[in-house]
């Protein structure tokens, strides 16, 4: 803990947490608890890099830190030289669809592709570049044609669905590189990002007959995992968060088709037909357990994802089962988290701490008075308030923390898919809909 923390990481952490999102870098400095879970996922990643596959459902209540956990696993994967792609599901993005929503999810995944050197996304071009560079090197050594080398390296892909066209697109990228044709290169990247919506356009630009569309979501991911391997990486990790949006789909048909796809992915991964590929799906307990609308409503999934009955009886957790339940943070863990945040804020220098331990305790006490249990169950706003307080103290060295703690206002975290209703300030006073804030069925 005595190491200095780089300013870049410190800023990234503080800024992200203040706006309520998970930081992309520097996670290791604030990770608290969950050591067993992290170990289990670490083993999964090792397995992926050795040619296996992984499938995990990360289940946690709203605000329990699922997304954070997924980010932690992601940074571990990056360190182990995997390529990661991640995306959140939404009403407009899902796994199976017929009007483009699956394609949009795929595009989002590709846009967020990250590598160790480019952890903030947009790494697709670099991955392709790397592959092409390697192919060139090989071609130079053998004195052969680069295109032939490319096709040789991608031969294994051709066996899979869509593999042939995939290889052709990479080839087109190489040609664009050769001919200094920026447009061809960017078209190839566009194709890989599933941004082509019609086959005619793809045919015209790249001379391929297929595009990545709703139907080829999973197949395209399998191809990508083999491709990144050929590009010199250890494998591909796919993070899909906010799976609860499938649960919220109002069409039973749509929901069932999506669950079918999840079953297919699960089977492939756990049977060993997928290689160098891992899936992490983040969702709420309802998403998994609801017998009428959740994954458990699909019988085949229920049997595969059922809890380990021995572990249940023995009162322990089986960390090897596909469904991993994350418990909420405990108050003690939250305390440690705040200590870490204080440490990060001071760039790792203990002499620059803005508040003493007492302040932390007092702060947490105040939070519990204000919003009750929610302060550690859904710590998002607690963390935000804490960082706000630190910011004020930093900018006003003369102020005392004791003055500030009492006046902290913490909002209750109330999620919803419906847009907030914006009204003018004057009318805002008369509205009494807030009396429904705590409504429970």
């Amino acid at each position: 803990m005595e190491k200095r923390i780089r300013l870049k990481e410190r800023d990234a952490i503080i800024q992200s947490l203040k706006s309520g999102v998970t930081p992309k870098i520097g996670i290791q400095h604030i990770q608290v608890g969950r050591s067993n879970e992290v170990k289990a996922l670490y083993n999964d990643i090792e397995r992926i890099s050795q040619g296996g596959a992984a499938f995990r459902l990360i289940i946690g209540d709203y605000g329990s830190g699922k997304t954070f956990f997924l980010s932690v696993v992601r940074s571990i994967a990056l360190e182990k030289k995997l390529v990661t792609v991640n995306a959140d599901l939404s009403p407009d993005r899902r796994i199976h669809a017929s009007s483009g929503q699956a394609r949009k999810l795929y595009s989002e995944l590709m846009r967020n592709m990250s590598t160790r050197n480019k952890p903030n996304g947009n790494a697709l071009s670099s991955v392709v570049e790397r592959f092409v560079t390697q192919a060139r090197k090989e071609a130079d050594e053998k004195n052969g044609d680069v295109s032939t080398v490319i096709h040789q390296k991608l031969a294994s892909l051709s066996e899979l669905v869509g593999g042939y066209d995939f290889a052709k697109v990479i080839d087109a990228y190489w040609n664009g590189h050769e001919q200094d044709n920026e447009e061809l290169k960017s078209n190839a990247i566009r194709w890989l990002r599933a941004e082509y919506t019609t086959k005619t356009d793809a045919r015209r630009d790249l001379d391929v007959r297929t595009i990545i569309s709703d139907n080829s979501f999973y197949d395209a991911l399998k191809l990508m995992s083999l491709f990144v391997r050929q590009a010199g990486y250890e494998g591909l990790l796919v993070n899909l968060d906010e799976m609860v949006h499938l649960y919220k789909l109002s069409s039973t048909q749509a929901r069932t088709s999506n669950y079918e796809q999840i079953l297919r992915i699960l089977n492939d991964c756990l049977q060993g037909s997928a290689e160098y590929l891992g899936f992490l799906l983040g969702g709420t307990p309802e998403f998994l357990l609801d017998p009428r609308r959740g994954l458990y409503s699909y019988e085949a999934l229920q049997s595969r994802l059922a809890e380990n009955s021995f572990a249940q009886r023995a009162g322990v957790i089986d960390y090897s089962s596909p469904a991993l339940h994350l418990a909420s943070l405990t108050p003690e863990e939250l305390y440690i988290l705040l200590k870490n945040l204080r440490h990060v804020s001071a760039e790792g220098d203990t002499s620059k701490y803005l508040v003493p331990d007492d302040a932390l305790k007092s702060f947490l006490h105040h939070c519990s008075q204000t919003i009750g249990d929610a302060y550690f169950r859904t710590p998002r706003n607690t963390i935000k308030a804490f960082l706000d307080m630190l910011a004020v103290l930093e900018q006003n060295p003369s102020m005392q923390w004791s003055q500030l703690v009492q006046s902290i206002a913490i909002e209750d975290d109330r999620p919803s898919d419906t847009d907030e209703i914006m009204v003018d300030e004057e009318t805002g006073e008369i509205l009494n809909s807030d009396r429904l804030a705590d409504f429970k069925l």
Partner: protein
């Protein structure tokens, strides 16, 4: 004229010139400025064919002429046929402006819809149900396509006020403003309407949260001539064996046959079975006389093709056509005007009568209304309702109110509309995926149209919806659809909030007599009239929707049943005034116009005579033989209240045409009973509604999903009025 004209887009001006109109009409000129301002709602109220649609479209199209992306005008109409008409009428104007016009409803062309989907712009013509479907199924596309919406225009607004569909429409408009982020900067709404009572209250029905001011434009009184005639017919007591006398219906058909052949007319018969029967008789007459058949039925249960064929025939105006119809032809489909309108029974409201009258009267010709009313021939056994010729007098009263006072029923705006509210809750959740309780309340009640629903009601409703699996709550507090809610929203029938009324089967012994709609008040031991006979209700089976009856004595039942909930106080008061003065004639200048024929006049005089004989003016409660009759001369809400109060106190009574018949009772008993009830507080509407069986209160589409308390409260508001009843008792009985 020049000034306003100049403010229109140049191409619109050119189009006007091409039309060859000498001038813009009054309301068209006055509408230009307020609509172009874009900062207020506009209400245009004028009689049919006064040029309302142009009054809106000329300035509105000018305003959006330069817009390219997204729809500029949203036009909402109650009927698909109306939309098709409007589309035709806008063709030339839109061509001049190079503006896209898209009709969007269940039957419109897919190619047009697809074109609009890919490239939304111009004017969208849609029904409330199709709009609902878009919001639920394609919210993303809606958000994009309606960002530049400048105007929302609602045609035939009078058809929406106070109805379930109207509530749905207002709610949809609020949701549209919400999804496009226009709640704090609302989209101006323009309402086009023909007949409206109490005009000052209407802007509140257009925008309940008053976020924009409203300017009202009324057409100057339409100076058209109206010709009215009421003809009476006698229904003979017994026609078997006497070949010279024919039933009233046969006489009426003969009349229609002679009046209507050779030109186009509308005959309103108020019930499907009556429609069929009259149409059948008329076709037979045509066949007998070897002339082509010009008489066709039109009602909701008829096959779509038959209805459309008839509508097309009327629209073409090449062949003389007489349609025998129910309410379905009341709304303003542009089938062209007919020569005259005939009513075969008393109409159920004055606004309905006005709307129907408006269908007649071709260019420069007067509107013609004929009412052919039949009353029973009298004998010593006759019921007092028959004796007073109530159906005839009700018709006269309505005509007077219409012509002399220019009055029509004001819309009932205090209803909770719980069935539609429940529907909207499900719809909003389906649209977004999840929503919080406070958001739902804010959107639907505070910003939206459901102003009568308190937080208490709301919580009660949500809890019940959770219980019946319509909604569920996630751990995070959000509400999502439950398994039943999903089933409802996935069905293609979800988007409409109205339904055809359910009917109860009437069973005597082991024989089914027929069916009766549920909107009439029926309690155990009550007497009902069916098939011209009197029956006593022995049991009501909620589950199977059956009413068991036995034949009963109690005097011959009156011909005119008229039960329900639609007659307003004012109509009955007018009837009372006609009886009192003994004169129904209409004063015009110094003259009194008599619009009733000889037999009708005779029937009226019989009724007026009986009124005086029985001294009904001084005696609201009248005894005749063993039974008593209460004449409140108040609307159906008060009549229903009195009926239920008496039943609760142990009397056996029923009501026909606003008259309450109490079995085996005398005047004092009744008076004392009612006065005693008034001494303590009268039970309120909810308590009264509690006496009815559950099934009877299930009127609207989603009523079955409401918690019983709320349903009872809602029904109580529709059917009863305790305070008015108390006032009447104090005024008339004490």
């Amino acid at each position: 004229m020049i000034e306003e004209y100049q403010r229109l887009d140049k191409r619109v001006q050119k189009w006007l010139f091409n039309q060859g109109w000498p001038d813009l009409r009054e309301i068209q000129k006055r509408a230009i400025a307020p609509i172009l301002s874009g900062d207020r709602d506009v209400l245009i109220s004028a009689s049919t064919a006064a040029g309302k649609t142009e009054a809106f479209f000329l300035p509105a199209c000018s305003a959006i002429a330069e817009e390219e992306n997204g729809f500029g005008i949203l036009y909402v109409s109650p009927l698909k046929a109306l939309i098709n008409d409007q589309y035709r009428r806008l063709e030339s104007l839109s061509e001049m402006l190079d503006m896209q016009v898209t009709p969007w409803h269940g039957d419109s062309l897919q190619s047009k819809k697809k074109k609009a989907r890919n490239n939304p712009s111009g004017i969208l013509l849609i029904t409330p149900e199709s709009l609902e479907s878009l919001l639920v199924r394609e919210p993303g596309w809606v958000k994009q396509s309606f960002t530049s919406l400048k105007y929302i225009v609602i045609d035939e607004f009078h058809a929406f006020i106070g109805t379930e569909r109207g509530q749905q429409l207002l709610s949809l408009l609020t949701r549209l403003e919400h999804i496009t982020g226009r709640i704090s900067n609302p989209i101006p709404r323009v309402a086009l309407s023909a007949t409206l009572g109490e005009l000052e209250k209407v802007p509140l029905s257009l925008r309940p949260n008053k976020s924009l001011p409203c300017e009202t434009i009324t057409g100057s009184q339409h100076q058209s001539t109206i010709k009215v005639q009421v003809k009476g017919y006698l229904e003979p007591i017994d026609i078997t064996g006497d070949e010279k006398r024919t039933s009233a219906e046969q006489q009426i058909c003969q009349e229609i046959f002679s009046l209507c052949r050779g030109d186009s007319h509308l005959v309103f018969a108020n019930s499907r079975s009556r429609t069929e029967s009259i149409a059948a008789q008329l076709s037979d007459l045509c066949e007998q006389q070897v002339v082509p058949n010009e008489f066709f039925p039109h009602h909701g249960s008829l096959a779509k093709e038959l209805r459309e064929d008839l509508e097309a025939r009327l629209q073409k105006e090449t062949l003389p056509t007489t349609a025998i119809c129910t309410m379905t032809l009341e709304l303003g489909i542009d089938i062209g005007k007919v020569s005259s309108v005939i009513q075969v029974t008393a109409p159920h409201s004055v606004s309905s009568l006005r709307q129907r009258l408006g269908r007649s009267g071709r260019r420069n010709l007067p509107s013609i209304l004929r009412m052919l009313i039949a009353e029973n021939e009298l004998s010593d056994k006759s019921n007092i309702v028959d004796g007073l010729r109530l159906e005839l007098v009700q018709s006269l009263a309505m005509i007077r109110l219409l012509i002399v006072n220019n009055w029509f029923e004001p819309a009932d705006t205090e209803q909770m509309h719980l069935s539609t509210f429940l529907h909207q809750i499900l719809s909003v959740i389906a649209q977004w995926g999840s929503a919080r309780a406070d958001q739902l309340y804010s959107l639907l009640c505070e910003q939206g149209s459901f102003k009568e629903i308190s937080i208490q009601h709301f919580k009660q409703l949500l809890s019940h919806m959770g219980k019946v699996q319509l909604i569920q709550q996630l751990n995070s507090g959000e509400l999502v659809l439950g398994i039943e809610g999903e089933r409802l929203t996935n069905s293609y029938t979800f988007y409409a909030v109205f339904k055809t009324p359910e009917e109860f089967r009437i069973v005597a012994g082991s024989k089914t007599l027929g069916t009766l709609p549920v909107d009439s008040l029926i309690l155990k031991d009550q007497h009902i009239i069916f098939g011209g006979r009197r029956w006593k209700v022995t049991n009501i089976d909620d589950e199977k929707k059956v009413i068991y009856v036995t034949s009963t004595k109690g005097g011959k039942p009156p011909k005119f049943n008229g039960s329900g909930m639609s007659i307003h106080d004012k109509v009955r008061q007018e009837m009372l005034s006609i009886y009192r003065t003994g004169d129904y004639r209409i004063e015009v200048g110094n003259q009194k116009i008599d619009f009733v024929d000889n037999l009708g006049r005779q029937l009226f005089q019989e009724g007026a005579y009986l009124f005086e004989e029985a001294n009904l003016e001084k005696q609201p409660v009248y005894q005749s033989g063993k039974h008593s009759y209460i004449f409140s001369w108040m609307g159906d809400k008060v009549v229903n209240t009195l009926t239920v109060l008496l039943i609760r106190s142990g009397f056996v009574c029923s009501n026909f045409a606003g008259v309450i018949e109490v079995q085996n009772s005398n005047v004092d008993d009744i008076k004392n009973c009612l006065i005693a009830i008034t001494k303590d507080d009268l039970p309120d509407e909810t308590e009264l509604a509690g006496t009815l069986s559950l099934q009877q209160k299930l009127i609207e589409k989603y009523d079955e999903y409401l918690p019983e308390d709320l349903l009872t409260e809602c029904y109580g508001q529709k059917a009863f009025n305790s305070s008015a009843t108390k006032q009447w008792i104090i005024a008339c009985l004490v």
